[in-house]
């Protein structure tokens, strides 16, 4: 891949930072001990794991012994939801979530429904926001878990997590949040926000893929998800992925050290991009909330266009972005998030997500806008539907 490419799919994954890579390298072949071993090599590896645990804990205002390393954000979501549900079965079988969660949460909830759990999928408003009031109204005697994402991965809407946390605490219900997209973008304090469980993954903030963690508030009833050895205090068996854990620690420290500076830069680029596109290209709409929105997230629907064609043509112009639907082996159905905020199928199909990182520049925003004007024009010229509409207006 050439350097001239513009990578704006940072909600999918991010390039790893040099510092992260450097911090990881010794843990492949120099400090190779098994953290569970008693001798020097093992102790050294253990030290690295624990230091990393401290960094992750600090980043979200938790205690180190509340952090459990996993292999991904998805694993953390699965673990939190399944194991809290199972551990609290005697208390009740009701779970509250939203219609716009990541599939790691939605599919896990659907699995639990097969096992006799009752799940409430709360609707969201046209901006993708769930109301704290709706959450409170959904709570029943049998509710054991509320799981609501911190920020949406497709449209970037930031949920009222603090209010929901307060409600959950008041009603004595365990509250889990998938914060995969939010870490390093908004300040999170699990105590201030009354979060009981939180999922995160390193590769969304310039850390390694295959690194993740679940925060579990002390005293929260939860079983172990992967059984075997005594790693992660008996909660997550399997030899620790030491290098990856080290990388996660370095990355989260970097990502949470300059949030306000970073988000100021990102939101400036984002707002410029949004305004330019909406102004210069007709029949477009912004999906998500105008202000309660992740700093790097842009999600726009282009009428009369398929997202798939748009992506391929952007790719040919050296721009890496994504649509609501992840093509290839996944599903090609229109995004459940866009449908949930009330978009029609055909409009949901023509949606584009541009997610920025600090590496992006204003010049790139201009290049993206100009490319979009050209590509959208070309694609619409091929659309019989657009021809009808534009003629009707003339």
């Amino acid at each position: 891949m050439s350097n001239s490419r513009i990578y704006v799919d940072n909600s999918a994954t991010t390039p790893m930072k040099k510092e992260v890579l450097t911090s990881m390298l010794p843990y492949f072949s120099e400090i190779y001990g098994n953290p569970s071993s008693v001798y020097a090599e093992g102790r050294e590896a253990r030290k690295a794991v624990e230091l990393s645990r401290e960094k992750v804990a600090k980043a979200i205002g938790a205690q180190p012994n509340e952090i459990f390393f996993t292999g991904s954000g998805t694993e953390a979501d699965n673990w939190a939801i399944r194991m809290v549900a199972r551990a609290n079965k005697a208390k009740g079988n009701h779970i509250i979530t939203t219609a716009v969660e990541h599939h790691a949460v939605l599919h896990t909830c659907q699995e639990l429904e097969k096992d006799g759990f009752e799940v409430t999928y709360l609707p969201v408003d046209e901006f993708g926001m769930v109301s704290a009031e709706a959450v409170e109204n959904a709570i029943k005697d049998t509710t054991v878990l509320i799981t609501i994402m911190t920020a949406n991965n497709e449209i970037g809407t930031i949920m009222p997590i603090k209010e929901i946390g307060a409600i959950a605490k008041q009603h004595g219900v365990i509250f889990h949040t998938d914060a995969v997209q939010a870490i390093g973008m908004i300040d999170i304090d699990v105590n201030d926000m009354n979060i009981d469980l939180l999922s995160l993954t390193g590769h969304k903030f310039h850390g390694p893929k295959g690194s993740g963690a679940l925060y579990v508030r002390k005293g929260t009833k939860i079983g172990s998800f992967i059984t075997g050895g005594a790693q992660e205090r008996n909660k997550r068996a399997g030899t620790e992925n030491v290098a990856s854990i080290v990388g996660l620690g370095t990355a989260i420290e970097l990502a949470t050290s300059n949030i306000s500076e970073k988000t100021a830069k990102l939101s400036k680029m984002r707002d410029y991009l949004i305004n330019e596109i909406l102004e210069k290209i007709p029949y477009t709409r912004l999906n998500g909330h105008r202000t309660q929105r992740l700093a790097g997230n842009t999600n726009i629907s282009f009428e009369f266009i398929e997202g798939e064609s748009l992506l391929l043509m952007l790719d040919m112009k050296g721009i890496s972005a994504s649509s609501g639907s992840a093509c290839t082996s996944g599903s090609l159905d229109p995004s459940h998030v866009l449908l949930a905020i009330g978009l029609k199928h055909e409009i949901a199909h023509g949606s584009l997500r541009i997610s920025l990182s600090e590496d992006n520049t204003m010049e790139e925003m201009d290049y993206i806008v100009n490319s979009l004007i050209e590509i959208v024009g070309k694609l619409r010229a091929m659309s019989p539907l657009y021809e009808k509409v534009s003629k009707g207006n003339a």
Binding site: S309, L312, M316, C327, T328, L332, K378
Partner: protein
């Protein structure tokens, strides 16, 4: 700048080798697997079709990596459902025997895919079909010719391509001597699909049980009716007209004491007409929805070699124009199992050119 070609890749050996040949010829090749059909939930079990399953996507992607070409999966499910699946179901319910591959070629590979290719800035679409396309400047037309490997020839399913489509299509396998050569090339290139078996049957119908497929899709249970002879005498009960095709002898479910063949399907009366040996032969047929390749319009009657099914032998016949879009085909010798819904394709008497073809209506 090399010319860009989009090649439809199924993950099978043919399209893989076709991609390799184009790459070798210096084209900038972009591999595309057309996502056509997801499969169905049958009795709670998910069944993938064979044509565009996830494993086919993986195979195609591996080949693309190996060849060092760009590769995409593109969604054509809506077009496929409308132009192939719905057509397939409608035809059977109307007492005809459809050919879904012809519809898929016409509407998907050589229409929808060409449009996507143009969007990507490609000059051509390529496929792994065994056929040749040549431009004849004396008549200023693109010609469709049988493949060098006559046993593999697939022109029967391609007769519907118009001049515009032919001008934008490459079929690099048409020059090869046959499947053995294809496999040899695949082996030589170390392509992972070198030993994959040929695909067979209808790609979207699991177990080839198309009657069950139609039932699952429409919810209309099979409607049993009468087997009758040519004079209307009832011979027995059939299970539903979609289960039968013209010329069929096996699977009628009744012993008649002598070989009996399906010679006609009467949708109105829900009857399947059976005849004795010999009556399943036809002296002539009427075809519609004509497409001609060697010329625009059939002005006068011509002699041609004619195929009435993919697997049928060529038969000599006279083609008589009835109207712009309708012809009568009169065979020198009566032909077996002339089936409404199937294509009839005309070839030049002494040559490899496809003259054209249409859909048998009677």
């Amino acid at each position: 700048m090399p010319e860009k070609v989009v090649i439809g890749m199924s993950g099978g050996v043919d399209s893989s080798v076709a991609a390799a040949i184009l790459k070798e010829k210096g084209y900038e090749v972009i591999g595309v697997t057309m996502r056509l059909w997801d499969g169905e939930h049958i009795n709670g079990q998910f069944e993938e079709g064979t044509c565009c399953s996830l494993s086919a996507v993986e195979d195609a992607r591996r080949v693309a990596y190996k060849l060092g070409i760009d590769y995409y999966v593109m969604d054509f499910r809506a077009e496929f459902e409308k132009n192939v699946i719905d057509y397939f179901v409608d035809e059977y319910q109307s007492g005809r025997t459809p050919n879904p591959c012809i519809a898929c070629n016409k509407f998907l590979k050589f229409d929808a895919l060409i449009k996507k290719a143009e969007m990507l800035g490609a000059s051509y679409v390529a496929t792994g079909h065994y056929a040749r396309i040549e431009y004849d400047k004396t008549i200023n037309r693109y010609l469709l010719k049988k493949s060098r490997a006559t046993v593999k020839d697939q022109t029967y399913a391609l007769y519907g391509l118009n001049q515009d489509q032919l001008s934008k299509t490459l079929m690099p396998l048409g020059e090869l001597s046959g499947k053995d050569e294809t496999r040899r090339i695949a082996d030589k290139l170390g392509l992972p699909t070198a030993n994959k078996p040929d695909s067979q049957e209808i790609c979207f119908v699991p177990d080839n049980d198309y009657a069950e497929f139609i039932y699952r899709r429409t919810g209309n249970p099979l409607k049993p009716g009468n087997f009758v002879d040519v004079n209307g005498n009832v011979l027995g009960r059939h299970q539903g007209i979609i289960k039968y095709t013209i010329g069929q002898r096996k699977g009628l479910g009744i012993a008649f004491g002598k070989p009996m063949f399906v010679i006609r399907i009467d949708v109105e009366k829900n009857e399947v007409v059976l005849g004795e040996k010999g009556t399943e032969f036809s002296q002539s047929l009427i075809a519609e929805n004509m497409n001609f390749i060697t010329f625009d319009k059939l002005e006068n009657e011509i002699r041609a070699k004619v195929k009435v099914r993919y697997t049928a032998k060529e038969a000599s016949a006279v083609i008589v124009p009835l109207s712009d879009d309708r012809v009568k085909v009169i065979f020198d010798e009566p032909q077996r199992a002339v089936t409404p819904g199937q294509a009839v394709v005309f070839y030049e008497i002494d040559g490899d050119n496809v003259i054209g073809g249409g859909i048998i209506s009677a």
